[in-house]
Symmetry: C2
Subunit: 402 residues, 2 copies
């Protein structure tokens, strides 16, 4: 019989979010009469898609019913959408053939891991979004679990002491650096100076940065960069991953993009852009044409206003959660220019705090240690939720004081 892929065997049991769901189901089953559970756990959007963007989706679907409007395969994505993305997000400095439309950031990261293969060394912020590490384990770039990290992965602690921007000196040469800003889970947003340091380090050490900018539309402080390509030199060392999931409410609709500049080269001089096009053409068939029609609507003036309103709304939730935590003496970072709040419970185990909040407040959160060793004693609060639920959750958090 076929033997199990050793890479899969290396993965620790239980992807974080399914594990949380399992614990919640268990809790609900053993506490049938309990007050309704409110989720501030997984970052899943809750607000309906706003009028103009939704019309874009509806019209995209309707067009498929007519001879003139029908469309089939479009692997690399609509030309019009790729050009629009370059215009809106990158001052048109990228050609359409440097923008690749995807079905979302997570899926793109998985494909990028296949692109770079088993021979690459991975570097992650610690804590970080699980797919950087778990996907690296799947492709064999990372090896066996070694107590508090996977073999072959460099973890860069992002902690209160360094203001959640890591010391870059341990980054190995020729490695693949996963970097997320605004950060999931800490909510920290890197400054221009910090990103300049990151790009310089990558250029100096021959590294490629996979810059996850999925939360950039939550940035309100105009001095903070929204894209790695605002930083000089990034076009020689960075790939950017983006998504409509949070700013347009497309977590279920599925649409994102990657930017892979043509200036990116391997050691031997071959084009990374060409390999990425080839890989996507081989194992991917593009994002849904309906989702792409919605994205086009999201990028016109009305759509951009709606995305601003939606991200404002979730930032309003974040503000309320941050205040509620402050009122019970829990200090936190994030939430100002990001939808996540990173709350510190010094000296305590994340899963214990998770359980306590679930039991005392009937609120689902995400235990920080699930994002990496340095997440221990932290809890991530997500601001994605209905306003009434968030306000109710803020009230209930008072019960944590005792």
């Amino acid at each position: 019989m076929i033997v199990r892929n050793p890479n899969i065997a290396n993965l620790k049991a239980g992807y974080l979010f399914p594990e949380i769901s399992r614990r919640c189901r268990e809790f609900a089953a053993t506490h049938p009469s309990a007050v309704r559970i409110i989720s501030l756990g997984i970052g899943d959007t809750t607000e309906p898609i706003s009028l103009h963007i939704c019309d874009g989706l509806i019209n995209g679907a309707r067009r498929l019913g007519s001879i003139g409007g029908y469309s089939g395969y479009q692997d690399e994505g609509l030309l019009e959408l790729r050009e629009k993305i370059s215009e809106v997000f990158y001052e048109s400095k990228f050609g359409a053939d440097e923008i690749f439309i995807s079905d979302g950031a997570k899926c793109d990261i998985g494909r990028l891991q296949m692109l770079f293969g088993a021979g690459i060394e991975a570097v992650v912020q610690d804590p970080s979004y699980p797919v950087y590490v778990d996907g690296s384990v799947l492709t064999g770039a990372a090896g066996a679990w070694q107590g508090n990290g996977y073999h072959g992965v460099s973890y860069l602690p992002c902690i209160a002491e360094n203001d959640y921007f890591p010391d870059l000196s341990p980054i190995p040469e020729n490695s693949l650096i996963y970097f997320c800003s605004p950060n999931n889970p800490t909510g920290a947003v890197s400054t221009r100076e910090q990103l300049l340091k990151l790009v310089k380090t990558a250029l100096g050490k021959g590294c490629i940065i996979i810059f996850d900018a999925a939360y950039s539309e939550f940035i309100r402080d105009t001095s903070l960069p929204k894209s790695i390509f605002e930083i000089e030199g990034a076009e020689q060392c960075a790939i950017e991953i983006q998504s409509f999931s949070k700013p347009a409410g497309f977590t279920g609709v599925r649409l994102g993009w990657s930017v892979v500049p043509k200036t990116l080269k391997y050691a031997e001089g071959e084009s990374i852009n060409a390999d990425w096009a080839r890989l996507c053409g081989t194992i991917f068939n593009g994002a849904s044409n309906i989702a792409q029609a919605g994205a086009l609507a999201a990028l016109d003036p009305d759509g951009l206003k709606e995305m601003r309103r939606l991200t404002d709304f979730y930032l309003g939730n974040a503000y309320r959660i941050k205040n509620a935590l402050q009122n019970i003496g829990v200090s936190s970072v994030g939430g100002g220019d990001s939808p996540y709040i990173w709350a510190q419970f010094p000296g305590r185990d994340s899963w214990d705090v998770f359980t306590e909040i679930l039991e005392k407040c009937r609120i689902v959160t995400t235990p920080g240690v699930g994002f990496g060793p340095s997440g221990q004693s932290f809890i991530r609060f997500s601001s994605f939720g209905r306003r009434a639920d968030v306000e109710e959750a803020c009230m209930r958090l008072r019960d944590l004081r005792n």
Copy 2:
């Protein structure tokens, strides 16, 4: 600097379909005044989505604009859709947790290749759909190109002499068998007896079959199996890949599914189903909720009628193309229960014939050798096209006689 992934370097230049597009663009550029080119090349659907299914998509999009109808992440797919698929296609013998909703067959095959990893030996029908082999090269399961095949891949010739069903005796033990019926590109449909032989071989040799049933809805001969799971024993050795692309016109909408029975085990007894769920949860975020709404509409009585009508239409095209070929003395197989016609040009090079048809008839086809060594001297005609174009193409084929 980062070194190129050797797996990518192993891939021969030019994925088949982009290569065809390139040649067509070149031809069009050097023949500006030429008669309009008709494509019977890539199998891309051309008919608008029919009324009821399109309404399903429109309503799926519209619902996202309301509080009650909004939905976010749904990685494993809508429960209702998974249950419906089990009922319509598998007499409800699979649980919802054995049906995984995907964004299409090609993407699922890519992920399955990641699941089984670099250590697996691949077996393909020769000729076959390129992703089985190209994706195996990407994961490292296949190695360097060796003149007429990749190292580590077993090619099973499907030729006129064996009626396009291969000799199974060369299949290595513990290998991964990619098998497609109705076949792309030959159009051959395996009989129950043939598939029984395949399943027996897989069980006897400890192999797993990845059964690509993306064209099953074109089968009209009721004695021919539409699913590998109609064959006894398949639940111990097969995964089925399916798609709405062709029967519902969803090539651009993106929706498919995989069936991974819980009875499937590795040598050590672990569950392949559990690993597949884990892998999909890690690097995939599910298919678009709008596409899923369309699929639900496609599987109710009206939708099923519309899919039947659409596949009938393309089979009508196939019938016309087959006749036109016969009239000029070109013999072919397929087209009766499949949308592809596999036409033989004995003693000739596929790319030469491709060029001749392009030059004399202004018709784009697919050179058989692009699907594997045994495709040499064949041409694949796709029946996906507007009726008027197909009829015009059939007229033009007469020019091939001289």
